[in-house]
Amino acid sequence: MSDGAKAAVLHGALIAALFALHFVLPAYHHGNLARVMVLATYAMGYNLLFGYTGLLSLGHAMFFAAGMYGMALPVTHLGWAPGPALLSGLAAGALLSLVAGALALRTVGVAFLIVTLMFAQAVYLTVLYFAEWTNADDGLVLQRAERVLWGLDLSDAGVRYLAALVLFSVCLVLSLWLVRRPFGKVLIAIRENEARAEMLGYDVFAHKLGAVVASGTMSAAAGAAYGLLFGYAGASFAGVQYSILPLLWVLLGGAGTVIGPFLGALFTFYLIDITSGFTTAYMAVVGVVLIALTLFAPQGIGGEIRRRVWRGLP
C-alpha cells in the first residue's frame, strides 16, 4: 500500500471511529469528546505553524479569540445569524493573522516568541478594555435561538457532536492535503533548514506568512465554532493559558504529525478532568507534563509512532 493510501486509511478510520462513538458513548464522555474535537481543531491550526513550519508562537489565543469574538459580537449586538457570523469570525482570524504575521515575522528566534506573546496580551487586554461590548470576564452567553445554524439546533447534544465532528474532519483533511502539497513540503524544508530553502529560491517570508495565516484562520475557525457550539465567549479564552495549551497538546501528541494534535488534546483533556477532581491546582499537572515531555519525549506520541511503527506518518 502506498503512503498516500495508508494515510487515507488511517485518518479515515479515525473519523469513522469518532462517528461510531457518537452512538455508543455515555452522555458525559459524549459531551467531552465534542469539546475535544473542537480543541483538537485549534491544536491542528497551531500545529501547521509550530509542527510543520518550526515557528513557535506563544500567542495563538489571539486567533482563537478573534474567531470567537468575530462570531459572538455580531450575533449579540447586530443580531446576525450563525452562518454569516461564523464567516465573520473566520475573516477576523485571517485578518489578524495577516497583520500579526507580517509584523512578527520580521523577528527571528526568541524575539518571535516574545512578540507573539505581547500581541496576544494586547488582544486580551483589549477584550477586557471594551467590557461594554465584550462583557470582559463574565463573557457573552449566546441564547439557544441564536445558535440555530441552517435549521440545526446546535444546543442539542447530538447535533453539537456531529457539528464538531464535521469541523474536525474538514480541518483534518485540509491539514493532510496542505502538508502533502508542494506548499507544505516547502514549509517542512524551512523548518529543517531555512537558509537552504532560501538558497533554493523559495520565498521564505511569503511561505511563512502563508503558514501563519493558514494556522491563524484554522485556530479562529475552532474559536468561532467553540463559541457557537457551547454558547459562550469569554475573556479567559484570550488569556495566556489558551496560548500555552495548544503548545502542550501538540508537543504531547507529536509536533508535525496530522493526527498528533487530536491525541494530545484528548489525553490532556482527560488528564486535567481527572486531576481537577482531586485538587483545584490542576494546572500543576500541565506544568509537570510540559517539563517531562521536553526532557524525555520531545517528539511526543506521534513522533514515537513515526519512529517505531511507520516512518511515513504524515
Binding site: T107, V110, F119, L125, Y129, A281, A284, G287, V288, T294
Partner: protein, 322 residues
Amino acid sequence: MRLPGRAAAGNVAGMEFGPYLMLATLEGAVTAAVLALTAVGLSLVFGIMRVVNVAHGEFFMLGAVLAWWVASWFGGHAAIGFVAAAVLAPLLVGALAALADVTVLKRVDYDPERTIVVTIGLLYVIQQVVLMTYGPEARPVEPPFNARLALPWVEWGESGPALYWPWGLSTTSYKLFVIGAAAVVLAAVWLLMRHTRIGLVLRATQMDGEMAQVFGIPVERVYAFTFGLGAALAALGAVLIVPIQQAHYLMGGDPLLLSFIVVIIGGLGSLPGTVVAALLIGLSDGIISVFFSPTLAKILATLLVALVLVFRPQGLFGTRAA
C-alpha cells in the same frame, strides 16, 4: 506590578495638579525600584545564558510568599521578621532556581525554545504548588518601620514663594527605604560584575561560553549561579514590595510582563540599559495610570514594546540584537 499608589490616589482626588504629579512620581519610583531589581535578574540570565526565563515572575512570587512565611515564623518585632525574610527568602529562591537549572535547563542544553517551554512548565508547577500549600489568600508582611512623612509643596502667595503642606501629600519612611535599598543592591550587582573575580568569570561566559570553557571556566556552575542570582534578585524585589502589596499566588504575572518590557526596551542583556528602562517604565506606569485607564496604558505599552522588538531588536539603548 500593581501600582502601590493606586489606593492612595483615591484619597487625593481633590488635590491640585502639581502635588498630584509629585505623589504619582514618588509612587512610580517605588514601582521602578522593585522593577529594576526584578528586571536586572531577568537581564543577567538572558545576557549570560542566552535563555528567556518565563518562570521569573514565579520566583518573584515565591520570594513574597516565603517572606510571609519567614516573617510569621519569627514573630517578635516586625523588624526581626523582615530582616530574616530579606536574607532567607532570596537565598532559598536562589537555591531552588539553581537546582532547577541543574536538573532541567542543563538537560535541554539551554536550547532557547525548549528552555522557554520547560520554564513555562516550571511556572505552572511553582504557582500551583504555592496554591496547594499557601492557599488562595493574599497576606501582608508587616513593614519594619512605617512612619508617615508629610511632604511640602511650594506656592506663590502675595509675599513670594512659600512652603505649605497639602492635605494627602505624603509618603512613608518604608517607601523611601525601598527606593534606597534597591539602589544599594543594584550598585552591589554592578560592583560584583565589574570589580570581582566572579564578575570577570560571568562576563567571560557572557562574551563566549565555549571559549570560556576552553580557558577552564566551569561554565555549568557559572550557569547555575547566574540562574540562582537572577531568581534571588527577583525574590529580593518581592520581599521589599510585600509590606506594601500583599503576597498572593498569582502576583507573578505582572512583574514578568513588566520585566520583559524593561529588558527589551533597555536592550537585551545590557545592565545599565535595563536600569534606565526600569526607571522609565516604572515612573511612566505610575504617572500614566494616574491620568489614564490602567488597562489602556498596558495595551499601549505592550504594543509599543512588541513594535520595538520588531523594528529595533537591539532595544532603545542597546547595541546588540536579540
